[in-house]
C-alpha cells in the first residue's frame, strides 16, 4: 500500500496544499489510455499540457500529494517562458517572478567580469526570470486541473511497467491499494532517479564530476538587485565557488562547493550550514544580518544522457532522460524543450497524422540537444569545479590573471542554457530557400520573437500546429497558395495561415492577419513580400522561402510530418 505523507512540507514562504489522492476504489473500471505520464514535475506537466493542446488526453501520475520540496529549479530562461506561454502559464510567472539580465563574477573582492544581456524590444520575456519551483508546479497544475483532457492522479505511484505488442501495462499503487492501467504510450517523467529507467536497466552515457555542492535557501534582507553573483576562491572557502541568486519573498539561494572529502551528511548539519552562510555574508559585508533557513540540499555535477529516449512505447523525458549540471540553468529549462517536443511528436502519431517513426525524430533531436548541452556544460563545470590538478591550475591562473588581464575574463562566461537548433533534423529538407537567406533564423532554429505592436508579439499567435507566416503585399493571398493550405488542412494537418501586413487590414483567406506597421517581421526574418516562414508545432523553423509556392509548400509539409 502506497501511503504518501498528508503532512504539508515545511516552508517559511510557501503554503503547501495537500491534495486528495485519486483512489481506484472511488473510480470505475479503467479503459485503455492513450498516454500515461509518470511524474508530475515540470517535464510531466508540460508534456500533458502540450499533448492536450493537440487534442490528446493523458493521465498524470503524481506519487506524492503535494508539490515538490524546496525551491529546486529557480531560474527560467526566455525560451522556457516562451514554451510556458504556449501552455498558458507564463503570465503567472511574469506576475510573480524576478526578471534579470546581468551577472557578475567576483574574485578577491573585485568584479572581474560582468555580463549584461541586452534587452531586445522584440522579446516579450527577459533573458532570465527567478521563481521557486513550487510556484511553477502550482501554475502548471492549475492549468492541468482546468483541462478536461488531463486526468491528474495524486498519490498514485508507479510500481512497475511492462510492455508487449504496443501496449504498456502500468502497475500503480495508491492509498487504497494497487490497480492496473493499460496505455498505448507511457512517458517516464519520473526525474533524475527514474525508477523506470533503473528497472529497464538503461545506462546513461557521459561523465560525473566528484565535486559536491550545497544549495541553501535563506530568507534575508539584502540590498542587491536580481543578478547572478558568482564568487571565486573566497578566503572562507579557498579554491571553491559560491553562487547567489535572488528569489521572490526575500529568499536568497546560496550555492557553495564543498572541499574534497567532505560528506553531504556533514555539510548539511545545521552548524556547518550556519558557519558557512555566516562566512559568506561576512565576505559580502553583511556580517550579523539576521537570516532564516528554509531548505537545503546537495548535488554533484553530472553530464549524462540516455542514448535513446524512445524505447518501444516507453518514452523518457526531462531528468529521467538526462542529468545535466546546474551551471547554466540546464535542468528544468531543458525539460521544457523536451516536453514540448515530445508533446507534438507523440500527438501527431496518436492523431494518425504521422507514422510511429516520427518518435525516432523526437529522440534524435532531443538526444542531440542533450549532447550539445553536455559539451557546453562540461566547459562551465571544468571552470566552476575543476576535475583535476591541471584544470585547477589553469582555473587558478585565469582567476589570478583576470585581476589585470582583460583577455581571460570571458572565460567567466557561464554559457547559459539556450535552445538547440535542429539543424540535422530528419524533418528538414532542401525544398526551401534556406540557403539563399541572408538573415533570420535558419532551418531548425528556434523562433525569434517580434514585437508587432505594443504588447503584441509574433509568438503570441503561434503554436498548436504548423504555422505558415506569409508576408503580404496586398489584401489578398495568391489563390494557388490558398488552395495548397486548404488541401493540407483537408488532409488533416493542423495548419494556420497567418498573413503579416504593414496595413491594418484583414487579408482575405488568412486565418489571421497580423498588423506589423513597422515591418519588424520582415527585418528580423530577412524576408519580404511574397516570402514565408513555416513554423513547426514547437515553433522551430520548418522551412522558409523568399518566394513561396504551392507545390513546394505541400511537399515540405508532407515531409515535415513524415507522410
Amino acid at each position: 500500500m502506497h501511503n504518501p505523507s498528508h503532512l504539508p512540507r515545511p516552508s517559511i514562504y510557501y503554503n503547501y496544499q495537500v491534495f486528495k489522492p485519486w483512489l481506484p476504489t472511488e473510480n470505475g473500471t479503467q479503459e485503455k489510455k492513450q498516454v500515461v505520464i509518470v511524474g508530475a514535475g515540470p517535464a510531466g506537466m508540460v508534456t500533458a499540457l502540450e499533448l492536450a493542446r493537440h487534442g490528446v488526453a493523458s493521465v498524470v501520475l503524481a506519487s506524492d500529494l503535494q508539490f515538490s520540496q524546496g525551491s529546486r529549479a529557480i531560474v527560467f530562461t526566455r525560451r522556457s517562458m516562451e514554451i510556458l506561454q504556449q501552455v498558458g502559464v507564463a503570465h503567472r510567472i511574469t506576475e510573480n517572478g524576478l526578471p534579470w539580465h546581468s551577472g557578475n563574477s567576483i574574485y578577491r573582492g573585485q568584479k572581474v567580469f560582468r555580463m549584461e544581456t541586452p534587452l531586445d524590444p522584440d522579446d516579450r520575456f527577459f533573458p532570465m526570470i527567478n521563481i521557486q519551483q513550487q510556484y511553477l508546479e502550482e501554475y502548471l497544475h492549475d492549468a492541468c486541473a482546468a483541462n478536461p483532457l488531463i486526468d491528474f492522479r495524486w498519490g498514485n505511484k508507479l510500481v512497475h511497467a511492462e510492455q508487449a505488442f504496443g501496449v504498456v501495462t502500468a502497475h500503480v499503487d495508491t492509498p487504497a491499494g494497487p490497480y492496473q492501467l493499460e496505455t498505448e504510450w507511457l512517458v517516464a517523467a519520473d526525474g533524475g532517479r527514474s525508477e523506470i529507467r533503473s528497472a529497464m536497466d538503461l545506462k546513461l552515457e557521459g561523465a560525473s564530476f566528484e565535486s559536491i555542492f550545497v544549495i541553501a535557501d535563506i530568507r534575508i534582507d539584502l540590498p542587491f538587485p536580481t543578478e547572478r553573483l558568482a564568487f571565486f576562491d573566497p578566503d572562507w572557502n579557498r579554491g571553491n565557488t559560491i553562487l547567489m541568486h535572488k528569489e521572490p519573498h526575500g529568499i536568497w539561494r546560496v550555492d557553495y562547493q564543498l572541499p574534497p572529502g567532505e560528506t553531504p551528511e556533514d555539510a548539511l548539519r545545521p552548524e556547518s550550514l550556519q558557519q558557512r552562510i555566516d562566512a559568506q555574508l561576512k565576505m559580502i559585508g553583511f556580517e550579523g544580518t539576521p537570516w532564516e533557513m528554509d531548505w537545503s540540499s546537495v548535488y554533484s555535477a553530472r553530464t549524462l544522457t540516455l542514448p535513446d529516449y524512445v524505447h518501444d512505447r516507453i518514452v523518457f523525458t526531462g531528468d529521467a532522460a538526462h542529468l545535466l549540471p546546474i551551471f547554466g540553468v540546464r535542468g528544468a529549462n531543458t525539460a521544457f524543450q523536451d516536453a514540448q517536443s515530445l508533446g507534438w511528436h507523440l500527438a501527431y502519431v496518436l492523431n494518425g497524422i504521422s507514422p510511429e517513426k516520427l518518435m525516432a525524430n523526437h529522440s534524435e533531436e532531443r538526444v542531440g540537444a542533450a549532447r550539445e548541452i553536455i559539451t557546453e556544460a562540461g566547459k562551465s563545470t571544468r571552470f566552476m569545479a575543476p576535475p583535476s590538478r591541471g584544470f585547477r591550475l589553469l582555473r587558478d591562473a585565469v582567476l589570478s590573471l583576470s585581476l589585470t588581464e582583460e583577455f581571460v575574463r570571458p572565460l567567466y562566461h557561464w554559457r547559459t542554457s539556450r535552445p538547440h537548433e535542429y539543424k540535422h533534423s530528419l524533418l528538414n529538407s532542401t525544398s526551401d530557400d534556406n540557403t539563399q537567406f541572408t538573415g533570420g533564423p535558419a532551418l531548425g532554429a528556434p523562433p525569434q520573437n517580434v514585437q508587432l505592436q505594443h504588447d503584441d508579439f509574433l509568438l503570441d499567435h503561434l503554436g498548436g500546429g504548423f504555422d505558415l507566416v506569409y508576408v503580404c503585399q496586398s489584401q489578398s493571398i495568391p489563390h494557388e497558395l490558398l488552395h495548397a493550405v486548404e488541401a493540407a488542412k483537408n488532409n488533416g494537418l493542423p495548419l494556420k495561415l497567418l498573413a503579416i501586413s504593414d496595413r491594418d487590414i484583414k487579408v482575405q483567406g488568412a486565418d489571421k492577419t497580423l498588423f506589423d506597421p513597422q515591418q519588424r517581421f520582415q527585418l528580423r526574418y530577412g524576408v519580404s513580400a511574397g516570402g514565408a516562414y513555416l513554423f513547426r508545432p514547437d515553433q522551430h523553423v520548418c522551412a522558409r522561402w523568399l518566394e513561396v509556392d504551392a507545390t513546394r509548400l505541400l511537399s515540405r509539409l508532407q515531409l515535415a510530418v513524415m507522410q
Partner: protein, 65 residues
C-alpha cells in the same frame, strides 16, 4: 616550431636569467601557478593555438623519470 624566431643567444640568456629569478621570486608554492599564468600570456601573444600545442608537445618530450 616557429621558424621566424629572432631570439638570439643574448636574448635567450636574458630570458633564461629572468625566468629563473622569477621562479625563485614566486617561491616553491606558487611557481607552478606563475608558470601557467606566463604560458597563458605567451599563448595570447602568439595568437595561434596550433603553435602553442606544438610547444606543449615539444616541452612534454624527454621529461626525466
Amino acid at each position: 616550431m616557429n621558424p621566424s624566431s629572432n631570439l638570439d643567444i643574448a636574448g635567450l640568456e636574458q630570458v633564461y636569467d629572468r625566468l629563473a629569478t622569477a621562479i625563485d621570486q614566486a617561491g616553491p608554492e606558487k611557481s607552478e601557478l606563475f608558470l601557467v599564468k606566463l604560458a597563458l600570456l605567451n599563448a595570447k601573444a602568439i595568437g595561434r593555438p596550433d603553435l602553442f600545442e606544438a610547444h606543449i608537445d615539444a616541452a612534454l618530450k624527454d621529461l626525466p623519470a
